[in-house]
Amino acid sequence: MEDIEIKVSGLKKDFGRRKVLKGIDFSLKKGGFLSVFGPNGAGKTTMVKILSTLEAPTKGDVTIAGIDLMADPIPIKKKIGLISHNPLLYGDLNAHENLRFYGVLYKVDDLESRIDELLDRVELSNRRYDYVRTFSQGMTQRLAIARALIHKPSILFLDEPHSGLDPHAVDILDGLLDDIRAEHTFVMVTHNLEKGLTLCSQAMILDGGKIVFFEEKKDIKRNKFEAIYKKSVKGEVV
């Protein structure tokens, strides 16, 4: 039980009358990689927002690294990072200022060398003093990756991290994920079946706020998985 990093039981989320999540249960081991698939509106992003403390659940329990998310979110925030299609960066601050801002909020030790290291890793060292609004989408997303990693989180939530990236940025992101794979736990929302299934240790398909598929990678039968995925994306009842 000790190596369970994320445990979700009976998770529900309503927005007014709209029930977005209708009872989600799963657990993810430390070092695991969960790929979450599903059609638009299935509740994938809402689930990630709840797991990353951005939304409060309507009902249910979420435990991350053994800490109850509702009872004490601050220690959880120190352990998690989020890379989404929104970069969470200030356009009128430069790359260094953005990383420094978040680094101070996370109380990162030896912040300047951490910023240097990350800017090198995402190949933006030569643009460190340029405003983010002058960056291309790929560069912005690379900086967003550096932002998410500034405090060395042990759990990373990735919400369609590859969307809008140029091939070079995709390579950098995949390289980074490879580098940190061993010591991190991942939950990735994606529409990219190949990438999601290659990277994952477990795969989930969400449809209509419910889990319609959840298996270990070794047990996944590709034909069955694709059939369920296609049905859910086409809007058929699974």
Partner: protein, 230 residues
């Protein structure tokens, strides 16, 4: 000390962004100056002497200028989803509120530092300089009240489509006691020599205004966790 440094980090970021873009300050400054020009032409009979109702007119200009600023106060957070970045950070959400109150307070104060001397030179005949400390205290407390409740209301409205409409609709009724007291203080001081009774009334208004500020700040601080990010 840690909380202070986190508040300062967010506040410093807001100040740097505003100094670079000047979006809020320029629009606030243009608005308040336009209001004063309109005052000048509206009171044509005694156009150079608004001493008797200086306090009221001053705060009419300030409150609408403040609303303009408040509506822009989360603009940088909305762009690029930076509000989520703040909410992800391991800081008490009430610290976000405190830093936003301070930045709104500072921006409104900058506008006032520029416009009050101009307003006084052009419209006020009485030299209220001997009462300047009490006058500044009234302005300070008025600003603090507007920033406290204004920041709270702006956060409530931040994720709604009609944000620009909601902030004055929700905020103005809550700001009425602040405005009434601030006008009492500024108006009496600007209008002429303070007799013992008027001075007593002004001091009493300062005390009540300080009390309102404390109540508004503490209530908003305590409730902020529930309104931001929901």
């Amino acid at each position: 000390m840690t909380s202070f440094s986190q508040i300062w980090t967010i506040l410093k970021k807001d100040l740097i962004l505003e100094l670079r873009t000047r979006e809020m300050l320029i629009s606030m400054f243009l608005f308040v100056m336009l209001t004063m020009v309109i005052f000048n032409y509206s009171f044509s009979a005694d156009r150079n002497d608004l001493t008797a109702f200086g306090g009221g007119l001053l705060w009419i200009a300030f409150i609408f200028t403040a609303l303009l600023g408040l509506n822009r106060s989360f603009a940088h957070e909305k762009e690029g989803g930076c509000l989520d970045g703040l909410l992800l950070s391991p800081i008490d959400r009430s610290l976000i509120y405190t830093s936003k109150v301070l930045s709104n307070f500072i921006f409104l104060s900058i506008i006032q530092i520029i416009t009050i001397p101009i307003f006084t030179i052009f419209f006020i005949r009485y030299n209220y300089f001997p009462m300047i400390v009490l006058f500044i205290l009234g302005i300070f407390l008025g600003n603090l009240g507007i920033a406290s409740i204004g920041t709270f209301v702006t956060t409530l409205a931040i994720n709604t489509k009609r944000r620009d409409l909601l902030v004055p609709i929700l905020g103005l009724p809550l700001m009425m006691p602040i405005l009434w007291l601030a006008v009492t203080i500024s108006g009496n001081i600007m209008a002429g020599p303070l007799g013992p009774n008027t001075l007593k009334e002004v001091v009493r208004a300062v005390q009540i205004l300080a009390l309102f500020d404390i109540v508004y700040f503490v209530a908003s601080y305590g409730l902020y966790d529930f309104v931001i990010g929901e």
